[in-house]
Symmetry: C2
Subunit: 376 residues, 2 copies
């Protein structure tokens, strides 16, 4: 894992009256500027749901969409829709969220760049973080940027499908690199916790993209491959197989039903990580095939190895049983305080995430409330 | 696929008054003896649920369990519990269902064999059919036997967990080989349709076991392998990954949560079929890994092939959308009549299953009502 050194505070915020300060009064230590005024580029499923929820939590929400179709409805909900991207940026928001596909990001950033106020923190909602940072860096806006990936979504799309409840109990991954500004990170953390009522972990892009490959992108490929095994009909009769299909098949192929282009784009963006995991899975499955053949020949060692294979998920089974407890009101996960230092806040957040902690609230610039969900 | 020739009727039934006939009056053509009196060996989740449902449908249900624990409750529900396996068999049931694990089957068959009335049809509820037939054949009882695999179950076990509704809308796979008796098959078909209110397909053991490997046994291995990828923590941090885990991970790993010994036993019984499918999946995944790496290098052909991979499930996506229609009361799947001949009834049933048909009712010995659910 990377090691993260400190970086000097280099952003100010004048849009929010409580936090406005002149360049001369710039502090040596980070400040906690609440994300009061939030601008959203793109009122789709995710952007729309964030806008609704922040407005419900009394944050000042501005939005621009490439087509004004959702404006009438959004305006009724207290979302301040503006006719141009420039107006949105010139509104000097504390946070500007890019809720657009990666393909559009370069063009949007180009339009934003000349007007961006230095007090504005830039973020996004993409499911792969490394490639987004590259695009932001190319646009010369990296010093404004903190990455974000909210774990929320469904099979639908568009503002019509958006709803504040899409983010009930949502967890966000916030991402940093060695140049990320602590105060900007805190502003985004304020938006996620107090603004959205959500929790977060904070990690570097690489850690995020590997974890997302394991938990989501690679499984999407596996699910598709399972269905292709059926559709190709090389081995078993597909009609007979479908007649016998029960809960296990249904669960394992559900994600193959989503929009194939969206899935492909997501997988390709995290391509090298997914490739490495697919190779590992491929070896795992062919090893298991060999074991089954050896068992058929009566090989005692193979029986023992097969037993190990099926017992290996035990820590995960325990985790899932605990999760039911953690999610209940009566037995929620244990909380503690995470203390961050100016010198090593990134490493401290990364260590915390790797220890199964999630930040549920921020108390001060250097104190976070965390909840622990251990895999053991 | 195998071809099935006709076999002479060699069973009679005297337990059911409507159908009793002497050996002398044995017909040349099959008879439809309804499964009026049904004996169940083993009151676990499946045996118990079948017993409850048949009793609710006013069939005469007898049961024996290796421990009388469930007898008090079962008796209240109108299930006639007997103290010994011998008494159960000597009750001359139309159908005797072995609802015990494969490990116990050989011993149970040994105890049954000396007392089995020739009018009794023997069946089971195991999820792999080839191995069960082998055990039945070893016990010298193959002429009594028709295989069955009801698609019903959950993560629980025991009579306490059993319920008639476990079989709501259930589909059964009935299995035959070239020696299977048509009348015995019809008796079991009567039990499934009119007795249980369920539907069925009928195929040979090999077709069943391959389809079950594809749709259930192999995916159980894949699900377990996915969790092991996380637990081994060779690639991504497991705590971070679990924090990011959303619906796709949850769906794909759900079946890994079931009892590992039960899963292993099921997979091992269908071991050679599962091994072949795992090898195929292994190649599929490593091919996809290679494609992703080629795409990363900008290989245009790889992009096109990747697009094909994600689009290949399209017939399955259509099938799942149609399924919602078929399952609704207003737009249920189209029905037609399947006519069976004395000479080729096995092949006709197999063809019907491979055409996506399910038998929902039997009209006469040679006419079945089928519902069609096509994959196209």
């Amino acid at each position: 894992m990377s090691d993260f050194s400190d970086s000097a505070y280099d952003g100010t915020n004048s849009a929010h009256p409580l936090a406005s300060m002149s360049d001369a009064s710039r502090p040596a230590s980070p400040v906690l500027v609440s994300a009061h005024k939030i601008a959203i580029v793109g009122l789709g499923l995710i952007g729309g749901s964030i806008a609704r929820r922040l407005a419900e939590h009394n944050r000042y929400v501005m939005a621009w969409n490439h087509h004004p179709r959702p404006y009438a409805e959004a305006t009724k909900l207290g979302i301040h829709c503006v006719p141009t991207l420039t107006e949105l940026v010139e509104g000097k928001p504390d946070v500007l969220i890019l809720a657009v596909p990666l393909e559009s990001m370069s063009s949007v950033l180009g339009q934003i760049a000349p007007h961006l106020h230095k007090g504005t923190t830039l973020t996004d909602v993409g499911s792969v973080k490394g490639p987004v940072r590259q695009v932001v860096r190319k646009a010369g806006l990296e010093s404004f940027y903190v990455g974000a990936h909210p774990m929320a979504g469904n099979e639908l799309s568009g503002f019509e499908a958006s709803k504040a409840s899409l983010f009930d109990n949502a967890l966000w991954a916030l991402t940093f690199d060695e140049s990320t500004d602590f105060s900007r990170f805190l502003t985004l953390a304020d938006m996620v916790t107090k603004g959205m009522g959500n929790s977060f972990i904070a990690v570097d892009d690489g850690t995020h993209d590997k974890a997302a490959a394991l938990i989501s992108h690679m499984p999407h490929v596996v699910s598709t491959a399972l269905v292709n095994e059926l559709v190709e009909a090389n081995f078993a009769d597909p009609a007979v197989a479908l007649a016998l299909a029960a809960g296990s098949w249904r669960s394992m192929t559900r994600v193959s039903l989503t929009d194939p282009d969206r899935t492909r784009a997501m997988v390709e963006l995290d391509g090298l990580n997914v490739a490495q995991l697919l190779d590992s899975m491929s070896q795992r499955l062919s090893r298991q095939a060999a074991l089954l053949r050896a068992e058929h020949e009566g090989d005692e060692k193979a029986f023992a190895q097969s037993k190990d294979f099926f017992e290996q998920p035990e820590p995960f089974r325990r985790y899932r049983r605990n999760e039911e407890q953690w999610d209940s009101d009566d037995n929620s996960a244990p909380t503690s305080t995470l203390v961050l230092s100016d010198a090593s806040w990134r490493q401290e957040l990364l260590d915390s995430a790797q220890a199964g902690q999630r930040v549920t609230d921020i108390r001060t610039t250097h104190e976070m409330v965390v909840e622990t969900r251990e895999l053991n």
